[in-house]
Symmetry: C2
Subunit: 748 residues, 2 copies
């Protein structure tokens, strides 16, 4: 125990000193030093170039030919035009881009012009692909592709043909290749070292997921689904209420110029390791966190507050392109989103990268209950919802995404459609992301499998438990509604603008024995259910369905049905409130306290006139009315309830287009709106766009007096043939969700 | 479609305006408005009081007795002293606190003094517990407890006895009750309303997890384990190398004044919903994210850089108390930690809340490979590690935690010990947290179960794959080491200061058929393994174990063993580098290129003198030397390798204590250190503390010349009887990991 450099000095006893003050200024940022050999490669943008020359020695080994005798590379033709076979065969011809875009697990071809004809027997060359910083063979961020069968890597290569000095090389990226933007080099081996093409971004290419390739984890064996869920740009997103469904059109815009770069930037911004980007499970999970701005400065800021002056109202957007490009260019989160905006932009992201996906809407979606199977609603003594004590909410509807992929991280049988949700929910595993959760796992109650399957299960399966809060603060369960939540799940049908009910992908029919078994299994995994066995009431309350236009007077009826042979008296309370689509109550506008006397087996209907003025001044956001009726049966003491959500119909925008529907021929769209109300609409925005025909444009109108009209003529030029839509919204604080659309069949 | 308030005005066509500029200044913060009925209850500190009077009416109903006839509450005796039976029976007597601390699922007793004797036949009262903001019966944040069998809630209550006007009330919190700090009230029901005790914090109590209660999810049926893993304050954390294990003592300090509040604050800071805090799976998961500062401004900032002037060097800490109290008081992250500091403070957190836990050390822990079963090491043509291209690392050791709990979220059979890890790893599911991962799931390769079991599996099971990087940039696998990673997992034995090898809890014996099956199962879940089948080499290289003291010269030997009958020639490279404990290389200090000629079945040893001066100037941090020998067998072309980590032994601190080991009697500790080197040690800190005897204290010495000595006398007073330790560290940039400890048996 001695340093051998010098003799030990004499022993001196040292006394303690005053410790120095810490340095002023903030401490330095964390570095990887000592922790890891290098920072993790997590940026596709920060790509590194390969050197033009490697291991180059000044003089060749004795007896070797001069360097001039080896192949030199004159030109590389990427075959990147939209009408060339690479793009057509890889289903990437819709991308508006200056670069080649292909899919993994499928051959594409490039043409290499050498300085002289290629001789397989003596010339050695490789086509090299690299992605991200410090590309590594062992990390699959560097992939060499060889022309001869004896030297193949995980990316297959072959010479397809040669004409003079031009070699056509076929390249098949591995079916699990990393997805993103690659550099391409051609390298020739000489005894002097490697001679490689100069770095040149024009040879860059994008490699995407490939639902058409059987070996890809996202392989989807259904051409109609692939056309819709990968190539479809026109979306329909459902909202309103399950018995009066409304539609929003949406332009996913996944092929628009710059959108692919924006999608890759989202993964860069998340610092997602490059090596994980070929795994669709990890990409979907990261993106579910990144599409919202919580935790990670992701794409979209949520707001349900009604005050959107710092951005665009969620109801005003017509498509994803503006949002993704704004995030990409400004590098800051875009304001504002609600659930369908998150789901729509997430859908653009997934389709852009080639992961099949669709937006779904769940009507009556349980929220804020942390994945338990109980949504608690507390009633006060008058049968009104006790707002102070009711903390859970059932959203009138909630939108999320499904994406299609194998799940090698789970036992066999759980691949296929996976639920993912980018809307920040308060309590999904403590962080703002959700999924991918296997729909098969949700349907069969196998809730132990990642990610967040118990949470999605609760969104479609929760019971609504009504409590009556007693004077001493304790609560009594008075009613359990088992069929309210997850009333219907809808998505757009492939290849048409029709609805498709996919509730059966999430659960067995209400009341079936399979459903009971699954709910019992869910309890084994810790889901909490309400167990109170309440005797079935012999009186029912019914609130019939209503279709009401915003600004109309209407009739509200409450029907009491006596299923018993005896007389019954129901002391009822009917409360009508304006609610957000999240189920959060804003203001009560109606309160009635009928006492309904029923003979045996009789039913009686009470009817009230609801004048428009009673609710118009209290409206918020999406103009939903929520009615709840609670009654106490005098003779039996039982509590009966009924609930009804009425989504008021908003006026429509009208769009017309001029006649000539041809590619590259100018057309005119006319957007027309008349303010049907007697009051002024202020700060009105109208937006208009259409997949393949018109990039997003908007107009602002400071004041639209009652009864006044706007007419906006917009010229546009269809860029490609096929069926598409023009989509318009009108939005202002007093009137949201005004939509219009028109279908176009563009001829070649 | 018309507002009926007024006649429609005439139609005016409006033209578009210039849209207004967005408001200046930053947009407002997100609010819950419209999104949720109320902000989520996620702060234990922000507790709300219940009103003293509720539903109080001015005059009583006709014919009711006057209010004066009802019970009034004069005093509540919480029985909160450390030597009272509540604390003794609940194993909470060690807590230094002014409040009652009890465990759930087990009865405790309070004494209520009323204004007159209690009459069960007519008096109605309840003891009420509330936690957090807006306490709710349906969320279990409000729990009333009743004295009579007819009115029981999920928290049981009974009258244990009465003496005059004093009632002794027994209360058993539900075995799944929320863990945290509660308010307590006594409420008397009268026809006039509720009469309740005034808010008074002195009645607050803490309810903790209870490993002694069979119905608690953390029930652990082993008294020795409970004593160690819940009540143990003195820890040993292993480090060094598996064939030369070193120890650090640690004071977990979970019972120290303020530590329990600090632990609850960590959950508040994470905004963890109060309702989840009774679930040990969720608490452990949140805490694994919160113990590090990444993502969430959690407790500890990691640094492996060697520059710790902005805080305390990780090697300098002696216990958790300073760290937790500093975080709690300053509300900002504490600098600096490395893996054992994260694990030690996480352990304090878990033990403090009553979740059984222990710190474990895994020797040769695979990192940075994103849960794959391959750790890639790239060798250049000379057999040196190619630092530019090697991105993975194997840590010499890594510390994490195990905690004991049921896993109702998984199928049966995966409860018990769970691995959790608070050290921020680059790539665990994209976020800096890990676990709880069931050890049973890891051992049996059931890697589909949350959380992060595949990641922990890789830490103990990865293969080390050596590649040789060729001139053209391609790589060839030259060696796969299957038994290197996860060489041994150690934890402190319960009730002693001995080591306990728990490797078998993580995996089946190396080479067993069970091990093969498990590795195959892991591949089914997507773990990537190296499949190259390399012929077994007939020559072996061996680097024997070494125990070297810092500053000593030593001999390095390399043995080549020829297992074949023929002559063999090995062209070997031996490289010695200084490395961080993370396996990251700092500087090479030795490089030899022996050519070893071997007769058939011969073994030859090459020996080199390594002078201290060759490595001393290059040392970093924990003074680890890493040797790697690579050889190419000329006759067969095979590559052979050997690796060895030598953890240099640092000098020791000496601690002596004066003789009288008795509670409340002053004693003196003498810490003694002589600088054994010829060089000056600068900016030296010595720290000293001991569970139950001495709170953390430190001394600073600006300069310790070579050969000089420090002697520090510190008086202290044992607070309770039993075996404990004094723990000291000495730390400066040039010399880290200098430890000393002494055991004390304090008499009552």
């Amino acid at each position: 125990m001695a340093d051998h450099d010098a003799a030990p000095p004499p022993v001196v006893v040292v006394s303690p000193d005053t410790p120095p003050a810490p340095p002023s200024g903030p401490p330095p940022k964390a570095s990887h030093r000592g922790r890891a050999p290098a920072p993790a490669a997590s940026s596709n943008e920060a790509a590194e170039d390969l050197p033009e020359l490697e291991y180059f020695v000044a003089a060749g080994p004795r007896g070797f030919p001069s360097l001039a005798e080896f192949l030199d590379i004159l030109e590389v033709d990427m075959g990147k035009q939209a009408d060339q076979s690479n793009r057509l065969q890889h289903h990437t011809d819709f991308f508006s881009t200056d670069y080649l875009v292909v899919r993994r697990g499928q051959e594409f071809q490039i043409k290499i012009s050498f300085s002289r004809p290629y001789d397989a027997s003596k010339d050695k060359f490789a086509v090299e692909f690299s992605i991200g910083p410090s590309p590594q063979f062992s990390k699959n961020t560097y992939a060499p592709v060889f022309p001869t069968p004896d030297r193949q890597s995980s990316w297959a290569g072959r010479v397809v043909g040669a004409a003079g000095s031009v070699v056509t090389m076929g390249i098949t990226p591995a079916a699990d290749a990393i997805v993103g933007r690659y550099h391409l080099y051609v390298a020739v081996a000489t005894p002097y070292g490697i001679r490689r093409t100069k770095p040149d971004d024009s040879r860059d290419l994008y490699i995407l997921y490939n639902p058409w390739a059987t070996a890809d984890a996202v392989f989807l064996d259904d051409e109609a689904e692939r056309q819709e869920c990968v190539l479809g740009e026109s979306g329909i997103i459902y909202h309103g209420s399950w018995d009066d469904v409304a539609e929003r059109d949406w332009n996913y815009g996944q092929f628009d110029f710059g959108v692919l770069d924006a999608c890759l930037y989202i993964m860069d911004r998340a610092e997602m390791p490059i090596t994980n980007r070929g795994n669709p499970v990890k990409v979907a999970r990261i993106a579910s966190a990144m599409l919202n701005s919580r935790d990670d400065d992701g794409v979209l800021v949520g707001s349900w507050s009604g005050d959107y002056v710092y951005g665009v109202a969620p109801t005003s957007w017509t498509g994803s392109t503006d949002i993704l490009l704004s995030y990409y260019r400004s590098r800051s989160s875009v304001r504002y989103a609600q659930c369908w905006v998150y789901a729509a932009v997430f859908n653009s992201f997934l389709r852009c990268l080639g992961i099949p996906s669709r937006v779904v809407t769940n009507f009556f979606s349980a929220h804020d209950n942390d994945g338990n199977l109980k949504t608690d609603i507390i009633l006060d003594e008058k049968g009104r919802i006790d707002r102070k004590n009711t903390r859970d909410s059932v959203w009138n509807y909630h939108c999320w995404n499904e994406c299609f992929m194998a799940r090698p991280d789970l036992p066999a049988g759980f691949g296929g459609w996976q639920a993912v949700d980018a809307t920040p929910q308060e309590t999904s595993d403590g962080l703002f992301r959700c999924g991918p959760a296997s729909l098969q796992a949700i349907k069969h109650g196998e809730l132990c499998f990642p990610f967040d399957s118990a949470f999605v299960f609760a969104e479609v399966n929760s019971d609504v438990v009504f409590y009556s809060r007693k004077r001493d603060g304790t609560m009594e369960v008075v009613k359990v509604k088992k069929d309210h939540v997850g009333r219907m799940v809808l998505t757009k049908a492939p290849g048409s603008y029709d609805r498709r009910d996919i509730t059966h992908l999430y659960k067995f029919p209400e009341g079936s024995s399979e459903e009971r078994t699954v709910l019992e299994k869910a309890e084994l995994y810790g889901c909490v259910r309400e167990k109170s066995e309440l005797p079935a009431a012999d009186v029912d309350l019914l609130l019939p369905s209503l279709e009401v236009a915003l600004g109309d007077d209407f009739q509200l009826s409450l029907e009491a049905v006596n299923g018993s042979g005896q007389c019954r008296t129901v002391e009822a309370y009917v409360s009508g409130s304006v609610v957000y689509y999240t189920g959060v109550t804003s203001a009560e506008f109606l309160f009635k306290t009928p006492i309904i006397k029923l003979e045996g087996n009789q039913s009686v209907k009470e009817v009230w006139q609801v004048p428009a003025r009673s609710y118009m001044r209290k409206l918020v956001e999406q103009a939903n009315l929520h009615f709840i009726a609670t009654g106490k049966v005098k003779e039996t003491g039982q509590i009966v309830t009924a609930m009804k959500v009425v989504a008021l119909h908003t006026p429509k925008l009208s769009i017309k287009v001029s006649e000539l529907n041809k590619v590259n021929e100018e057309m005119t769209a006319t957007v027309d709106f008349t303010n049907p109300f007697s009051f002024v609409l202020e700060n009105v925005y109208i937006r208009l766009e259409g997949p393949g025909v018109l990039s997003p444009v908007s107009k602002y109108y400071g004041l639209l007096p009652g009864g006044s009209r706007v007419t906006w003529m917009q010229s546009f030029t269809p860029r490609r043939p096929g069926t598409t839509r023009l989509i318009a919204t009108l939005d202002c604080a007093a009137l949201r969700q005004v939509y219009g659309q028109i279908q176009l069949d563009v001829l070649p």
